[in-house]
Symmetry: C2
Subunit: 150 residues, 2 copies
């Protein structure tokens, strides 16, 4: 399957929302994410349930952040999306009778569990504010280059 890009899309959207005055519509977000307003609403639904964002209908409605960027970690978003499956590889049978397969599963599952723990830990340490700061640095770098061109 093509890979699940909901996490990165939501991060992208949330940071833009933070820099935007007032609510952003699904239509605006969809254009930014190069997709479709329905996909935006569907994906944002989980974040709304977790009160990371709020949505409002009607004129002037749309989506807005409900918390400061520094108060939202990548893990919060990952969880709000329903803990999407992390790995594309897995076991042939989760509870096999064959002892050989049990030994194989233990070896593979151990490694994947360690990798998953690492991902979860790192997602928990990084906030949206960290990413926004990195964006600011990238922006400053581009501006610096443009200035020196003149």
């Amino acid at each position: 399957m093509r890979s699940d890009s909901r996490l990165s899309r939501m991060l992208h959207a949330l940071i833009h929302m933070d820099r935007h005055d007032g609510a952003m519509t699904s239509e605006q977000l969809a254009q930014m994410l190069n997709t479709n307003p329905v996909v935006v609403r569907r994906t944002m639904a989980g974040l709304r349930d977790q009160e990371i964002v709020r949505s409002e209908k009607g004129h002037g409605g749309g989506w807005a952040l409900n918390r400061a960027l520094a108060e939202v970690s990548l893990l919060d978003i990952y969880r709000a999306l329903g803990d999407p499956r992390l790995f594309a590889i897995g076991l042939a049978d989760d509870d096999p009778r064959c002892l050989v397969e049990q030994a194989v599963n233990a070896a593979v599952a151990d490694t994947l569990a360690a990798a998953e723990a690492l991902v979860i830990a790192r997602f928990g340490e990084v906030t949206l504010a960290d990413i926004a700061r990195d964006f600011d640095a990238r922006f400053a770098a581009v501006m610096g280059r443009k200035g020196s061109e003149a």
Copy 2:
């Protein structure tokens, strides 16, 4: 998609092959793996190309190991399968213009790269012999329980 179980299937098959006298047919392996001989041949093809196993046609033909279990790491098998995609999640766009998305990508890709490095390192450290030893321990444990039941 349901997850890619080629790695665990191959590990399972290879250890059985090691404990088996003579070549094993795709049909025999397929029954063990609860699948189809064509799937076995298709998946084993990569291992044959890497000379981890060999195959022979005709009467008495089938598949046999080409190396000692201790000389084959999980990473060798993973590589022989063509480095299957490890993660189910990914970036929306690998090379975006938007600086916000670049910052998001950096954060997500960093974490995934660290997790992938961990998986690759651990796969490189574990050999088929390690798994076979674990199987022996499990087998001994079962035998021990059965003995004490009598």
